[in-house]
Symmetry: C3
Subunit: 137 residues, 3 copies
């Protein structure tokens, strides 16, 4: 079995932003040099997520508005007694989930025609890490 | 290591429907002929999900109503400027997540007594694909 | 490839409770004696979840309040026609997801500095099982 792990520093310009990381994941699979396998793509922070959906600007805006509706910024989260102000980002991380597993078949990411992989930043403008771990043979 | 990948075309009668796919996953594990392993069960579309819960008609109806409450159909999603009308289905896919990993132990799906695997269609009445990828030995 | 599976009985004092299981997962990795691998941590019940976030009492209270806001206890879930009263716990299980996959690199859980693994009980005060399955070499 081959194992290959890449770490990427993400540093978004905006506080909240979705970053298409499909090519990063593809590069890790190529570096691992496998034909069959699985790739774990996982945020290493508790205010970020990783998800699979559509590279379409409208739906990405809808996702961000929806995240704000279901997990809004609020002053009075108990978490803020620690001095933090990012309680909403923790909730958004749960809502979107912090990881996906991507199948690799015949040497390629085995995604559907519209599926793209996104890093979801909910508390950005600072350096945060993303893990891509490939296993396969 | 053995790798076995099956693709299934799903085509639900209703626009929104939960399909119990536990037997499909079990068949893939049998075809893979493994004793220990893991199975990735993943929707290949961005308006579908996969989840594990209970085969009980009431809770399935509750799930669908809950999905509509938290991720309602609306005319004014930005995604609809593309001509699509399925923005809510994208949100519901995020809410339920699009995949699960099922453990295999001693040749069997290692599920709890009530756990069943479901494909969640939120924009159906057309052909969509489901991936089941088994790894193990 | 090495495979190692542990089952833990969880029996929370409170009906709803988050239990930090990071050490349990670490013990399974040590028992598996691997350097590179992945760990599936999965609830075996349909009213529990598993997630990764922060060991901070305030945010854990915020999570529980948020779960109640988005997936509230209600008398009139259709699931309750079976005699059950835990429909909300099923919805909360979907919201938090029932499993995570944790990477193992150089013999250690490859988590970010604040990431801890939690079992999320939404219908407790009784014995329920958690599965930890390690694969690696």
């Amino acid at each position: 079995m081959k194992w290959h792990t890449d770490y990427h520093w993400m540093n978004t310009r905006k506080k909240k932003e979705f970053v298409n990381i499909t090519d990063l994941v593809r590069q890790s699979v190529e570096a691992a040099d496998i034909q069959e396998g699985m790739v774990l793509v996982s945020a290493m922070h508790i205010t970020s997520g990783v998800f699979v959906n559509d590279e379409e600007p409208g739906i990405k805006n809808d996702f961000m508005e929806w995240a704000e509706t279901l997990a809004p910024f609020r002053i009075d989260y108990q978490h803020h007694r620690t001095g933090e102000t990012n309680g909403d980002a923790h909730l958004k991380s749960i809502l979107f989930h912090h990881q996906v597993v991507v199948p690799v078949t015949a040497g390629k990411l085995d995604l559907g025609p519209w599926q793209q992989i996104f890093y979801a930043e909910f508390d950005g403008q600072r350096r945060k890490r993303l893990l891509i771990k490939v296993m396969g043979e």
